[in-house]
Symmetry: D2
């Protein structure tokens, strides 16, 4: 049983693609927490196809924790390297062994030595750390399963491990709706079954546009995803990254009503 | 003008997928050098889809240099991390600033921070180091160009940089001949033109079987590749990795006669 | 000519032994800057004889810069490792190539490989970085000179390098006044001459008590030190480290009147 | 009970200061093993007061193991950094969990963060690793004890930990016999008692000359040292480091007869 799936409710991790400023994070928490979003993404480190803005990085890791943990909100960020993992562990330790955080390994991070170093470091960190790995960029079931094997081989505990499907790079595969990445729901369900781990869906990187993101979420309801990782920004047009696919708070509100299972009880209720 | 393309001859890098033993390397040099193969691959570090044999690693880096450089042969290996780059630089320095070596970045190594760290380290190493980067696993021209930008942004000199096309993961794209990876010769030529860098073909990872490797090489002659990176093993059936796609010395000999341009003068002539 | 000794005035670096909180630093800047102290020490990382409080560390590096640079004050901290050097360089870069900072290598950090790694990293950082190395813990002129050679061998520029004498561990040498460490003013002057670098005195680690610190400063006036590194705390009794030797602002004020040369012009004048 | 002190015999670690070549090590093993020396030092990494020859380094770590372990001899080397510790662990693992090795932390390596990183890495390595720490360069009981606390705080097991007294830097302390470093036998015995760990004596760095080394050993017999770390070279005049203090095999033979307790049974008997 995974730490985050003890209840029958869907896991919802939502928030801006990247952390941009203290004010942006404060506004995100203020807006999303009342919707019952208790896990807020705001990535510190951004993988880059070309040289460009790389996120606020380690210098804002204290900020990320300061503006979430004291408010009962769990922060979530991608990490790219073993150094990032060491910093996350060290910073979270200041908040005690019960402090919670979600960190994930991105789709381009397919160097198994780095994957293993990261896993080993996180395995020794506070038990409140949940580790999530996304599928790799290319369509291959065996490789995706392999990431899981590498992570487990370093002793990272299953109870704190999750998977996320963010679609595969389309390449030359037909793509009539112009999705940014192509989902393979069946493969995701097969991986979920084989690994016994919770499977989250990232509709944002699949959709690429707000309209597509909404559609993808609707389509996904036919499958048993354990939760969703959704990009949402209080002012998407000003977002430094992924401006087209970040939902407004209103759109997120709509979407949550659909993806939350019938067991969901409103926080305000 | 790149260090390795000063002559009009094709660049030929051939040899076993992985370094397996001193004896195996000695035999490879003894067999391939007389065919005019002056750059011999024998990888020390292997990316792994699942936990398994990872190559002989740094402990055999001294061996790799001892059994090639004194015989006028240039060793070639993949490197996976910044630590590997540091070791290669340090070990090669023992042979002086003129010592030559080829190191490459593999297709799964798409963490731009690691790419940049590696590039920075290699840039400060002996000038005899040629750095080659392969295309990423998934079909995307923009990402492939991006690797080049990341590497150059760290000051790695163009004159010692090469690119290698090793095909893209097939995923759900039709693949009637069962190739291990799908080539995109047009994209490779476009990248060659845009970057101004030599473009090498790796028919071994595209073909996946000896027969396919031979075919791919024949097909590639219609394009202006600057050279070839070919897996060849004196006893392929005993190879620890990629046993099906490593050529025998005889097959390699045949293939070289085809891919070498008319300007090639036999070493024995 | 060193960046910090262009004027004929003594270099004064004063402030708390360790950074303890944002408020403590704000108060230090507010109190010391009006005394003409434009370089304020507040160490992030503390070498420890036994396991204990290690300083606020990298998580407070952003704070150290935020509360000094915008107020025209140059922050100063000890660094212990190459990782610390990388962070300092990265953090300072956010403030531009003109941003100034002083970092020093402590007396127990006598692993020449680490010294060289740190020097190499700092050499590539913003030109506003001044690097200072203290003498080692034990009394040995040759070793002290050797630190300088190791640093310069990595290309760190002389114009940004300073030395600091903090006394030698007394061991079994007679020590009637109970100094924490024994000064060797003659050796310091010899090293100053041989290296051609500015020589700073750290009376705090020599004295060990406020009274001794004042005496040491008076004694030192007979020698040509280029400046002073002095521990001063707005509330020394509450200091987390070195409580006995940190001066009150009033004592520092007195001391500065003595050590500042006749060429000093009061900032308020 | 420490792994190396199960018998009542003195622990003898002898051999060249630094590993210089395969031939030198082969000759050392051939000469010393028949004297009953089953632990042979031959350091790979040398701390340097000034830039100079730094030892053969990681490239010869495979050699060090190849020429000792298969002959039933335990290799011993100083390590300077966490990278060295990682390499030692990785290399020794190739010889199985029973393979034995002695590594030590030198007297200048007093950065507690590096000490802790090294300890943590070694703690996870093969159980055959014995870790030894020397006293720091300067005369201070509290600091020496602190090293032990730092090491144990990272979970390094007591059963595989030893201490070595190599004397303190003389500085301005009277030194009529011109010893290279001054011993404090009483302090060594106190530290032995307080920590409960075996205490080895390094007469070579105390003596500085062959004559002094012999004298120091004789003097030490009045104290309960658990063993000796002695520099011995088959051709001391050609040694690359510490030429004056390395014993010839004949002198070592003499010395061993004195320091070995009455319980020692000759291997040839």
């Amino acid at each position: 049983m995974n730490n985050l799936t003890k209840s029958s409710e869907k896991i919802i991790i939502a928030g801006p693609c990247a952390l941009e400023s203290r004010q942006q994070l404060q506004q995100s928490v203020k807006t999303l927490a009342p919707m019952g979003v208790s896990m807020i993404r705001a990535s510190l480190w951004k993988p880059r196809t070309q040289p460009g803005w790389e996120g606020l990085g380690w210098m804002s890791l204290p900020l990320l924790l300061e503006e979430t943990l004291p408010f009962g909100v769990v922060p979530a960020t991608e990490i790219l390297t073993a150094e990032h993992a060491l910093m996350v562990v060290h910073a979270l330790e200041q908040y005690g062994q019960d402090a919670k955080m979600i960190v994930w390994l991105g789709s381009r991070n397919q160097n198994h030595l780095e994957q293993r170093k990261i896993s080993k470091i996180l395995a020794t960190g506070p038990e409140g750390i949940t580790f999530m790995f996304k599928n790799q960029m290319w369509d291959c079931e065996r490789h995706w399963l392999g990431i899981c094997e590498h992570i487990l081989s370093e002793g990272f505990p299953r109870e704190r491990l999750m998977i996320c499907h963010r679609g595969f790079s389309p390449g030359k595969v037909p793509n009539p709706k112009g999705l940014r990445n192509l989902p393979d729901y069946e493969m995701a369900m097969k991986i979920k079954e084989k690994t016994g781990l919770p499977m989250i869906l990232d509709p944002s990187h699949i959709g690429g546009t707000r309209e597509n993101v909404m559609d993808i979420c609707m389509n996904s309801l036919a499958y048993d995803f354990d939760g969703y990782l959704i990009e949402a920004h209080c002012d998407p047009h000003k977002a430094k990254t992924d401006a087209n696919q970040q939902l407004t708070p209103n759109l997120l509100q709509d979407l949550l009503q659909h993806v939350r299972g019938p067991s969901y009880k409103s926080v305000s209720a």
